[in-house]
Symmetry: C2
Subunit: 319 residues, 2 copies
């Protein structure tokens, strides 16, 4: 039979339908897409945004903590860029206000792309194809890092994933979800998960403590939101991750320590809610979470303009 | 005025028009494309074929010698995969007979993807999306490495680059090349470059000694064809690289030591032909070579099927 949830009006639900990107500047998006895929924004010439936020794999690297310049082991799990425009702030601790502010970070981070803004702009300025495209898009003669981060951020705005089976159900297609999946959604709501995971992105809209009922044990050293605010009350508060496409963004948590959704759901139940789910309950919630996988970004692999004779060459092996 | 070359019938030319890929199995290509982009074929989960043969960048990494597992410095320059189906054999020394034989190499090479065929197949067998697709394509219940390399090779067959301006000229569009470019082509023919760089791929169809008139000085240790045949006469013989898309495949030579086309052309003239080109002649040849850039592969970024709970996880930092 049809469950109570299936009959509920979408307006009552704590999760909202995800909307396709709107008000997008297509010229800017096209330029930003190239930059997102261009490893010449890194010192080595080997690492692009897409290396750690692989759009073939849910916008993550599926590694516990990232590999950066010279194979350095990163301190924290790479979050998905999918639907990141919906976040209240960027990074696990929210230290960047928005995508444009965020995009400047990794280029100059010694543990990620290992480059500098000045060098990145120098590279771009010697690539005739980029010079032409920046001029077309911005109508200016000189490239600067603000243009670079603005273009990347505009591209990222297009990385929303509408049309998940859950969204179809929200929109009234009652047979889009199985009974098992609907039962999982009911558990998700009634257990209190929606207190933190709600809204269009099913997360991303608040900072919350990891380990409310029981402390979370980790070898990672991230202090969470307190690293930004300096306030003790914010210690171990992290931005609640979006659960959109969570099927694709393993491993889980800021330290990437949970390999499977079953493990993550079990830990969330116990640590955040003091609730031990049975295996059957856990499986239902996991089945529901998998209905949040939406249409993945679909576009042609960008072809990058070639370097010129004067373009500074990558330095993958220099000290 | 129209030069002699412009008036010549294409049939007389030592370079032939490149043909689009034919007799392609589309199901196989689609599977092979996913595998080509899948870093789970590497130990680290970070390196795919596309890392070193980036199809956004002419099918190479644009680094003198490649970066492999754990940031190991490779011994030799990564050749383009574009038009590699036209090669008489694969690798600089021709040690693989064809693309299928080649594709097994990097997965198990400790300095490249650092994995093993058994482990790669184990990973694929635990990914439901792959299990389904392999079964559809091969009609068999088990995945094996032969299927993997066959699919990748079939995808690579599609990576031809027709419709370069030079091909348009060969096909009779006399204004497809400038006078300067045509003069470069005439120099390329009359100087003797076409002795080695000819045919559909403008190379790729013979092994030739690097440094005929004058020895080539390099820190690289590759012995060339002699490493395969054991014959002294083959020492420092390398497969002549294709000059298709050579504008995109910098740096040049098996050691990646020449940063620019001008440098490569100068070295070729002196070492292979005992000929010192003037700057003007060199520039004309370079202008001609840039007309060999064809249509780059155009396809949607593949979306990879997610791992399951039982998929062995990548080991980027283990010894
Ligand atoms: C070497 C790996 C690596 C590279 C390269 C990299 N990132 Fe990240 N990215 C990360 C990690 C790890 C985090 C989380 C850092 C944190 O929260 O402290 C992150 C965070 C982000 C976030 C915030 C998402 C959220 O939900 O908070 C965005 C957006 C993002 N990166 C986009 C980019 C862009 C754009 C580029 C290229 C200019 C890029 N990244 C390059 C690893 C990487
Ligand atoms: C009090 C707030 C709160 C509640 C309640 C809560 N979560 Fe979370 N959730 C978080 C925070 C914060 C994180 C990130 C923690 C970290 O990475 O250290 C998280 C992470 C997750 C993740 C991992 C996402 C990823 O990409 O790493 C999953 C899955 C998840 N929650 C599901 C659930 C489920 C299911 C419930 C209910 C049983 C639940 N959450 C209840 C705040 C909450
Ligand atoms: C770590 C870098 C790296 C990775 C990963 C890599 N390659 Fe290569 N590839 C190279 C290098 C370097 C060579 C030249 C080796 C030689 O000639 O000895 C090469 C040679 C080739 C060739 C021969 C081209 C020619 O003209 O001779 C083909 C084809 C090829 N690779 C395809 C692939 C495929 C398919 C994969 C993935 C299964 C792959 N490569 C993974 C670096 C890499
Ligand atoms: C006797 C044979 C021979 C002749 C003649 C010859 N080449 Fe080459 N060419 C080669 C070989 C072999 C290589 C690869 C050498 C290496 O990498 O060590 C090569 C490499 C090149 C490259 C670099 C390609 C790459 O992707 O690395 C260019 C450019 C080139 N040749 C252009 C020319 C030009 C222009 C001429 C005439 C001035 C010429 N060649 C004459 C055999 C020849
Ligand atoms: Ca902020
Ligand atoms: Ca994750
Ligand atoms: Ca090269
Ligand atoms: Mg060799």
């Amino acid at each position: 039979g049809i469950s109570a949830s299936a009959a509920a009006a979408p307006a009552d639900e704590p999760i909202q339908v995800i909307k396709p990107a709107a008000n997008i500047n297509l010229g800017l998006v096209d330029l930003g897409k190239k930059l997102y895929f261009d490893p010449r924004l890194s010192k080595s010439g080997f690492i692009s945004c897409n290396s750690c936020h692989n759009l073939s794999m849910g916008g993550t690297d599926n590694i516990p903590t990232s590999i950066g310049d010279k194979w350095q082991q990163g301190p924290i799990n790479s979050p998905t860029v999918l639907n990141s425009s919906l976040n209240l702030a960027q990074f696990w601790d929210g230290r960047a206000a928005d995508l444009k502010e965020q995009a400047g970070g990794p280029i100059a981070n010694p543990g990620e792309m290992g480059f500098s803004h000045t060098l990145a702009v120098q590279v771009l300025e010697t690539i005739p194809g980029y010079v032409r495209e920046f001029r077309q898009v911005f109508g200016k003669d000189k490239i600067d890092i603000d243009q670079v981060t603005l273009a990347i951020a505009e591209f990222e705005k297009t990385l929303v994933t509408p049309n998940s089976r859950f969204d179809q159900w929200l929109l009234g297609k009652t047979d889009a979800l199985s009974e098992n999946e609907l039962a999982g959604y009911t558990l998700f709501k009634e257990s209190g998960c929606v207190a933190c995971h709600n809204g269009e992105a099913v997360g991303g809209n608040s900072f919350q403590k990891m380990g409310i009922v029981e402390p979370y044990k980790t070898k990672a050293t991230a202090g969470g939101r307190a690293d930004v605010t300096g306030k003790d009350a914010d210690r171990f508060n992290f931005k609640v991750p979006t659960l959109r496409n969570v099927e694709l963004t393993y491993p889980y948590f800021h330290d990437g320590a949970a390999n499977t959704l079953a493990e993550a759901v079990d830990i969330m139940g116990r640590l955040q809610l003091g609730k031990k789910f049975t295996d059957a309950e856990n499986a239902k919630i996991v089945a529901f979470l998998k209905t949040l996988t939406g249409d993945q970004p679909s576009f042609a692999l960008p072809i990058l303009p070639p370097s010129s004779d004067t373009t500074p060459r990558p330095q993958p092996f220099s000290k």
